[in-house]
């Protein structure tokens, strides 16, 4: 936790050096700009060093320590100048909301300190950084098409590996979520005062969905951070015509596009809002001031993909995967939500409130966003700006609806919606007694229900975090097929290489490849020649697949392989509820080399 705090100082230090000529007129925004820009700069530096093959912990630690020293030197005067709120003068409900935010930060830290157990993190968000660390360079990971997404957050996770270990890496998304929270609070305060700020912060962060998001090595907290900073800077440009602010808005928009392809849609939404609210001041200079920093920050990721695959957006838009992997990816993307028709689009608000489970965890999203963000039309003085933000949001949701309807991918919208919802809730409460009662009841019930679910979620991590449960026992309980992974670690040598279908690659200590998870390796329908060629070209010495995986077993049959172990494993459906999807045997085969 202390190193995570120093990480923020180091981000602040590097960001201060880079933004020396790009100061914001708002001190609080300026501090957050420096932290955000520093994080992006650290990721790009590590990315550059990774492709140059000079990734080394010593080099990283030297840069990190220098940046932290600069951060301390520049941060102390910053803090001395800062005016801290006098909470003694606050009203009781404001203190309660502040305490709630404190509880959520504590729950998030508690959950992040546990060994990583989120499936996506085990497959690539943390597993790929572990590969890069071991290789001393950034390598192509062809078996998972998701590894071609822009990887800013994963690279910050890698920085955490250099600093200490995987859990340190898992703090990077949480830190970005906290910067996003600070941006939401800061922006809402500038816009509508302290009450709106606290409420917006609670709506954004005090929900089980965001707790899960920020503690599972996901990318969306980073997107929310970049979008929030871009939006706040854009607002300053609109209000005060600060040219710096427009450049900073572009820089963070580019930062979003450098975290995930989804960030491109967020950039489109931000740019649309900017065009609507500032169209009278639009000219070529303004467009360049926004777009040049955006392109400069995002471009390396797209150039990398163009070089590796010929498609800057691989595997999307121009394709490039084999037919099976492409169909698997398409099927996975379309598998969320209730449907993709016009009727489904119209019913979206109703379903997000009443039946959100098919959106993958959507039932844990706070209902306050949808209940109160539309009410901002009633409360806000500047309805044109509210309409512009809604237009940008609608554009984003339309793209989300047409591509993949995962609730997670709505997180970049949440900073803006939280501010709108806070303004709407306070406006309704000020209109009359009934409005006050309904608002207090709705917000109170949502926050209490959310806190209950959040405590249940975080409680599963408490024993291992405080040392009452061993790491191994925790992983055996929370990670799918972990017993099989353990067997492989115990019995294979460093010069062996296993091909597997297991997802928990982060904990696989021996060299590995997979058959492909929406990636371009060995399709299940591939025949004998392709299977033998795959095994030979990847230097595979062992194959580990589930006994129920008939297609992979057929392919093993093409090899000169002998069964060396049957390990009973379980697949976890829900870590929080302790649900087990199935028990099966993992079959492990030794392949005769030269096959």
């Amino acid at each position: 936790v202390a190193l995570a705090a120093v990480t923020v100082v180091a981000w602040f230090g590097l960001g201060s050096l880079l933004l020396a000529a790009l100061k914001s007129g708002d001190t609080r925004l300026d501090a957050l700009n420096r932290i955000g820009a520093g994080a992006i700069a650290f990721a790009l530096l590590t990315f550059g060093a990774g492709w140059a093959g000079v990734l080394h912990p010593i080099v990283y630690l030297a840069v990190f320590a220098s940046a932290a020293a600069v951060g301390v030197a520049l941060g102390v005067p910053f803090l001395k100048r800062a005016r801290f709120p006098r909470i003694r003068t606050w009203r009781r409900w404001q203190l309660a909301v502040l305490a709630l935010l404190g509880v959520y930060v504590a729950l998030a830290v508690l959950s992040t300190c546990a060994p990583i157990s989120s499936p996506d993190a085990l497959l690539y968000h943390a597993a790929d950084p572990a590969l890069f660390e071991n290789a001393g360079r950034i390598v192509e990971v062809p078996w998972n098409s998701s590894s071609y997404e822009p990887f800013t957050v994963e690279i910050l996770v890698l920085d955490g590996f250099f600093l200490w270990d995987a859990v340190q890496g898992a703090f990077a998304p949480l830190l970005l979520a906290l910067v996003a929270l600070a941006a939401v609070i800061g922006f809402a305060e500038r816009l509508a005062g302290r009450s709106a700020a606290l409420l917006a912060g609670a709506i954004f962060f005090a929900q089980p969905f965001m707790l899960w998001e920020s503690t599972s090595v996901f990318i969306e907290p980073g997107l929310a951070c970049a979008v929030a900073l871009s939006a706040w800077n854009l607002a300053r440009f609109v209000r005060y015509s600060e040219r710096n602010a427009l450049e900073l808005a572009g820089l963070f928009a580019g930062g979003a596009a450098g975290m995930k392809y989804l960030g491109l849609i967020a950039v489109l939404a931000i740019a649309s809002v900017g065009v609507i609210v500032a169209w009278q001041r639009l000219n070529v200079r303004a467009a360049l001031a926004f777009s040049l920093p955006a392109v400069a920050v995002a471009l390396p990721w797209y150039v990398k993909n163009a070089v590796l695959t010929g498609n800057p957006f691989y595997p999307h838009i121009f394709g490039g995967l084999n037919a099976y992997a492409s169909a698997e990816l398409d099927r996975a993307m379309k598998s969320f939500g209730h449907g993709h028709g016009l009727q489904d689009f119209v019913l979206l608000p109703v379903r997000l409130l009443a039946d959100a489970e098919p959106f993958d965890g959507g039932e844990f999203v706070s209902p306050i966003f949808l209940a109160f963000a539309p009410v901002a039309f009633l409360a806000a003085r500047d309805r044109r700006t509210v309409a512009a933000v809604w237009a940008g949001g609608l554009l984003y949701v339309t793209a989300w609806f047409a591509t993949t309807q995962q609730a997670r991918f709505l997180v970049p919208l949440m900073p803006a919606l939280a501010v709108l919802a806070a303004v709407g809730a306070l406006g309704l409460a000020q209109r009359g007694r009934l409005g006050r009662v309904v608002t207090a009841g709705a917000v109170g019930v949502s926050l209490v229900v959310g806190l209950g679910a959040s405590i249940i979620y975080a409680a599963q991590f408490a024993p291992v975090t405080v040392g009452a449960e061993s790491r191994e026992a925790f992983l055996r309980q929370k990670v799918s097929l972990y017993d099989g992974i353990e067997w492989l670690n115990r019995n294979l040598d460093p010069d062996d290489k296993v091909a597997t279908t297991a997802w928990a690659l982060l904990y696989l200590d021996v060299p590995y490849t997979t058959f492909g998870t929406m990636g371009d390796l060995l399709p299940p329908e591939a025949g004998a020649m392709a299977t033998r060629s795959f095994v030979r070209s990847h230097g595979v010495s062992h194959v580990a697949v589930l006994a129920g995986d008939s297609e992979r077993l057929r392919q093993v049959g093409y090899l000169d392989a002998r069964l060396v172990a049957r390990v009973r494993v379980k697949s976890i459906r829900s870590r929080t509820r302790g649900d087990i999807a199935f028990h099966q045997e993992m079959l492990i085969w030794a392949v005769r080399r030269g096959e």
Partner: protein, 36 residues
């Protein structure tokens, strides 16, 4: 906004929030069952 419009928008906003809460009630029943 003029007063009648203010009143109408207030009532519409209240109605929407109550409707949203009612919808969330269905979610809540499922959620409590799931976590329970």
């Amino acid at each position: 906004l003029r007063e009648p419009q203010r009143q109408i928008s207030y009532v519409v906003a209240l109605a929407w929030v109550l409707f949203a809460l009612a919808l969330y009630g269905f979610q809540l029943i499922e959620l409590v069952g799931e976590l329970g």
